[in-house]
Symmetry: C2
Subunit: 549 residues, 2 copies
C-alpha cells in the first residue's frame, strides 16, 4: 500500500486518504530518513541541496509579514471575545506525559507526535488543547473555570497547506468546566461561536449540531451492539466527505453490521433542519420512544431551543443527525461550523486522478493535498463530561468547549481581504527621523538623529531612522516609506544647531512640501498632534480588514 | 558519575552541575522509563499513583490565574517596545529539521530535545529563537529585517523551577539583520534592553558587555592556539559562577594550556569598568597592540561609546572582559543583563551539601536546583554575523539580537508585586447580570438574563451571569465578586416586565444600596458611563504592577 520512491523522483505523490497515509507513516520502517541535503550520496554541497535543507519540516511553515498581521488580528479579536464571556487564560506545556494522551483520540491516536526517549519520562506533543485542559482541571482540583487557550497543537496528518490543514497549527479554545443547569453553558458556547465568526466578518456559516446521546440512542434502536457504537459513529462521521453508499459499505463490510441495520441508520442520519423541526420528527418516532439515551438527548435539545432563541443565534444553527465527530471523549452536544469553503471541490476525484496519473501506484502519498480537499470545519467542539474524571479517579467535572481553527479562518480572510491587505504595513512605525545636509564638514548628524529618536522613544512613539552615518535624502525617504511611517522629523544642517526641526506629514502626495519648522522642545507635542490627526477617521485598516468592512 | 536509583528511593537527588546532569541524561540507556503510575509493578491503580501521573513533564509547568496576568502584561510591554523600534513579528515551527540545529550550540547541543523517528524527517525542538531566525532569513533571501518573536524554547537542562529556570520556557527576542554602519544596530539593541528593563520596573540591573574579537585577540596574544580558542572561551564563561582558581584549573588540567598562558588570561579577564575606562587600559596594552582581532574590537567599542551616550544608557553598562557567553555563533559584541537576583546564594555550596547528604552519591541529580542557583542573566544576546551564512552558501547577513528571559523576569516581578497582585482579578469581567424575585410563579428569569446579557455582549461589554435557572441573591453577588465585576445589572420580578432594570456599582462597600432604576433601552449607554467613571483614575492596576509604580 505504501512504498518509498527512489530519490530521483523529486515530486513524491502521496495518497490523499488521511487514514492510509497515517497508517503508512506509522508503519514505516524506523530507518533514518535524513533530509536530502544531508544525504551521503551527494558529496558536494550543491546549491539545490542547500536549499532543500532550508525548508521547515513537512506540514509546518514560517509565518511572517502581513500574514502575521492578519493572524495576530484574528487572535486579538478572539481574545477580546473570550474575555467578554469571562474567560481566563492558561498555558500548558507543549508536550505532556505520553500516558495523558493515550486512549483519548480514537482512530486519530496514530497521528500523535512522540518525543524521543533520551532518558527520563516518555512524552508526546499535544494533539489538542482539550485533553491538556482536562488534565489541568483534574490535577488542580478545579470545580469550575471558563478558560481560553490560544496555542499550537500537533498532528502527523496529511497536510493541505493552502487550505490551512497543517501538521503544526494553532487552536483557539474556550471551555466551560463546572456543574451547571442543563444546556446553559452549551448555549453560551454556541453564542461564542456565532460572535466569533461574525466578529471576523464571516457571515455565510452554518453550525451543524447533534447530540451524542441521540446518536447513540439511534444506533441502539437500529440494532447496533453496545460495543460497536463508537466504530459505527466514526463511520457516520465520514458522511461530510463520502456519500451514504460508501459509508454504508464501511458499516456492512468493514464493521460487520447487517445491511438492515445500516439501512435503518441511513433513514435517521439523512434528517436535518432547525432544532425544533428535527425535534418534532424525533419526538414522534416510535423506534426511539423507549430509548433512554435518545430521550435524554431530546430533552436537552428541547431546552437548548429556547436558549439559542434568547441569544438570537437560531438562524445559524442546523440540527443535523449525520454529524458524529470523531473523538471518543464527547458525551453530549457536538457541533461543527462550516462555510462554503469547507467542502472539497466538486471535481476532487478528477483532480486527484490527474495528480496521480504520472506515477503507477495511486495509493502513494500526496505531498500537499490542498487541491483535493476543502478547508473542512472552521470551528468545532462539544460536551465532554467524562474526560476530567479519567484523570481524577472518576470525580467528574462536566465540560463543554469550542475550538476555532485559526489557520482555516486565516485562509478565508486572506482570500477575502487581498485588496485591503495592500494598504497594510507589517511594521507599526509612526515616525522616521532624518537629517538633510551636505557640503564641507557635513557628518550626517547620526548621533543627533539618535538623540532625537531617543526622545521620541521615551515618549512612547514608534520611531525609526536609517542606520547609516551619512545618508542621502532619497534613501531616507525610501526608508520611511518602507517602514510605513506617517511623519518625518528632519534635522537640517543649518536649522538643527539653532534648535529647530522640520515636521513633514508623509504619503500625502506633495513631496515638494518642505514641512513645518518647529522648535526642538515642541517636538513631542507636535508629533503627537500630527499622529492623532492621522488616525482621526476612526477604525484602522487592520480592524476594517478583519471585520470584513 | 551518574547512576540510577532503585525505584523505592522516591526523592531522586541529582547533581546540580548542568554539564554533568546533561551528559548523564544524554548517555542514559534508552530503556523505557515510564512515569510511575504506568509502572507494571503497581498493578492496582492507587490514588497516589494516579496523582503522580497527573504531573506535567519535568522542568515544565502549567501557567494560570494571576501568574498569566503578570506574564501576559510582560509580553504586552515587550511587544509594544519592539514595535516602537520598528519590529515586525514572525512565527517559526516549534521543531526544525535536526540538521538545522546541529553544530550551533557548542557544549549545550546535548540539551536539544529530539522528536522520535516515526517515519519521515528527523526533527528536534528548537533550542532558541536565533537559529530558526537565521534559517528563516536565509531561506527567504531576506537582506534586512527587524523582527521580534515571543515563543517557547526547549532545553533538557537541570531545572530550577522557582528561579524561572525551566526546560520549556519563553524567550522574547528582537533581532536586527542587515548590513549597516558599524555599531549602529548594536547600540539600538542595547537601548532596547535598557528600555525593556525600566519599562518592567526593573532598575537595579547592569549590562555586562564584551566583544568576541577582543576576547579572541586576548586569547591569541596570551598564547592560546587558534583551535583551542572556543574551548578556552567556554571556560572563561564560567567565571560568573566559579572563582578564577577553578576556571584556571579547567584551562590547565582539562584543556591543556600552560599555566603561564592561563595566568596571562587571568590578568585580562579581571578587568571591568565603563566602556571608556576599559578601552583606555586596552589601548595602552602592548600585548594587544599588534593583534588584529583585538584592535578591530577596540575600534568597534570606541564607536559604541559615543552611541550609548546619544541613547543615554551608559550608566547601565559595564565593559567586563570576563564575559564570554557559551554559544559558538557570536562574532562581535556580546552582553548579559544581570540583577541582584542573578547570582547564586552565598551559601549555595552549603545548601547543596545539605540536600545531598541523605544519599550517598553526591553527584546524583537534584530534581529542582532552585535553592542553589540564582536566576542567572535575565536578558542576553550578541552579534552573530556568520550564522545566516551557514544556511546560505556563505552569503552572510550580519545580525545582532537580544533575548529577554521572561520566566526569570516573571520571578522578579512576582516577588516584588505580591501585595499589588491581591487587587488584580484574573478575569476582566465588567458587568454581572442578576435577577431578583421569588414567590409564586417565579422562574428565575434565566431566558431574560440571557437576552439582556446578549445585548451587553453585542455592545462589546464583558458580561457574565449565573448558569442557573433560579439563583438566590447572595449566590449572584458571590458570582459577581468572584468574576471581579464592577457593575451589576439587576432584573427585578416586578420592574423588568415594566421595562425597567436596576444598575448597581459594586465593591463600594454599601451593600444596602438598591442601585439606580433605569429604562431597558438606556442600558448600554448607562453601563458604559458607569464603567468609564470606574476607570477614570488613569493607569490600571496591572500596568501599575508591571511598571513597579
Amino acid at each position: 500500500m505504501f512504498r518509498r520512491f527512489a530519490p530521483q523522483i523529486t515530486k513524491v505523490i502521496r495518497n490523499m486518504s488521511t487514514e492510509a497515509a497515517s497508517a503508512a507513516a506509522t508503519a514505516a520502517p524506523p530507518a533514518v530518513n535524513t533530509p536530502k541535503a544531508g544525504s551521503k550520496k551527494s558529496s558536494k554541497k550543491s546549491k539545490k541541496s542547500e536549499q532543500f535543507l532550508l525548508k521547515t519540516p513537512k506540514g509546518t511553515k514560517d509565518w511572517a509579514d502581513k500574514d502575521m498581521v492578519i493572524r495576530e488580528a484574528i487572535f486579538s479579536s478572539l481574545t477580546s471575545l473570550f474575555k467578554k464571556h469571562g474567560g481566563v487564560t492558561i498555558d500548558t506545556p507543549v508536550f505532556e506525559l505520553r500516558e495523558i494522551l493515550t486512549g483519548k483520540y480514537g482512530e486519530d491516536s496514530k497521528l500523535i507526535y512522540n518525543l524521543e526517549d533520551q532518558g527520563g519520562e516518555l512524552t508526546s506533543l499535544r494533539y489538542d488543547l482539550t485533553v491538556p485542559f482536562a488534565r489541568f482541571v483534574a490535577s488542580n482540583s478545579i470545580s469550575s473555570i471558563k478558560r481560553y487557550h490560544i496555542a499550537k497543537v500537533y498532528r502527523r496528518d496529511q497536510p493541505a497547506m493552502t487550505k490551512g490543514r497543517m501538521r503544526e497549527f494553532y487552536q483557539c479554545d474556550f471551555d466551560i468546566a463546572g456543574a451547571y443547569d442543563s444546556m446553559v453553558p452549551d448555549a453560551e458556547v454556541l453564542s461564542i461561536l456565532c460572535e466569533g465568526m461574525t466578529g471576523l466578518g464571516i457571515k455565510d456559516f452554518k453550525i451543524k449540531l447533534n447530540h451524542r446521546k441521540i446518536l447513540d440512542g439511534i444506533f441502539q434502536a437500529c440494532g447496533v451492539k453496545e460495543e460497536d457504537v463508537r466504530k459505527i459513529s466514526s463511520a457516520v462521521d465520514k458522511l461530510d466527505k463520502s456519500p451514504w453508499e460508501v459509508v454504508k459499505k464501511e458499516m456492512v463490510v468493514e464493521k460487520g453490521q447487517d445491511e438492515a441495520v445500516a439501512d435503518r441508520i441511513g433513514e435517521f442520519v439523512k434528517l436535518n433542519g432547525s432544532i425544533r423541526e428535527v425535534l418534532e420528527l424525533l419526538k414522534k418516532n416510535e423506534t426511539l420512544a423507549t430509548n433512554e439515551s435518545a430521550q435524554a438527548g431530546i430533552a436537552d435539545m428541547t431546552t437548548l431551543a429556547d436558549y439559542v432563541d434568547a441569544f438570537e443565534i437560531s438562524d445559524w444553527i442546523r440540527f443535523d443527525l449525520s454529524l458524529a465527530r470523531g473523538l471518543d471523549y464527547y458525551t453530549g452536544l457536538i457541533y461543527e461550523c462550516v462555510t462554503s469553503a469547507s467542502a472539497p471541490p466538486k471535481n476532487a476525484q478528477e483532480l486527484k486522478a490527474k495528480a496521480t496519473k504520472d506515477i503507477k501506484d495511486a495509493n502513494a502519498e500526496v505531498e500537499d493535498a490542498s487541491e483535493f480537499v476543502g478547508v473542512g470545519s472552521i470551528a468545532a467542539g462539544g460536551r465532554y463530561d467524562g474526560l476530567v474524571g479519567m484523570f481524577s479517579n472518576g470525580k467528574s467535572i462536566p465540560c463543554i468547549g469550542i475550538s476555532f481553527g485559526v489557520e482555516r479562518i486565516f485562509s478565508i480572510i486572506q482570500a477575502r481581504a487581498a485588496k485591503q491587505l495592500e494598504k497594510v504595513s507589517a511594521s507599526q512605525t509612526d515616525v522616521f527621523v532624518m537629517a538633510f545636509g551636505g557640503g564641507e564638514g557635513w557628518n550626517g548628524f547620526l548621533k543627533e538623529r539618535m538623540a532625537i529618536t531617543r526622545q521620541l522613544w521615551a515618549a512612547g512613539i514608534n520611531t525609526e531612522y536609517l542606520y547609516k552615518s551619512k545618508a542621502n535624502i532619497r534613501k531616507q525617504f525610501d526608508g520611511a516609506e518602507k517602514a510605513g511611517a506617517k511623519v518625518a522629523v528632519i534635522l537640517g544642517k543649518e536649522e538643527y544647531p539653532e534648535g529647530q526641526l522640520r515636521i513633514k506629514v508623509l504619503s500625502q502626495g506633495d513631496d515638494s512640501d518642505q514641512g513645518e519648522l518647529i522648535k526642538v522642545e515642541d517636538l513631542i507635542s507636535i508629533v503627537k498632534q500630527k499622529l492623532d490627526a492621522y488616525n482621526e477617521d476612526g477604525i484602522d485598516e487592520v480592524t476594517r480588514m478583519i471585520r470584513g468592512l
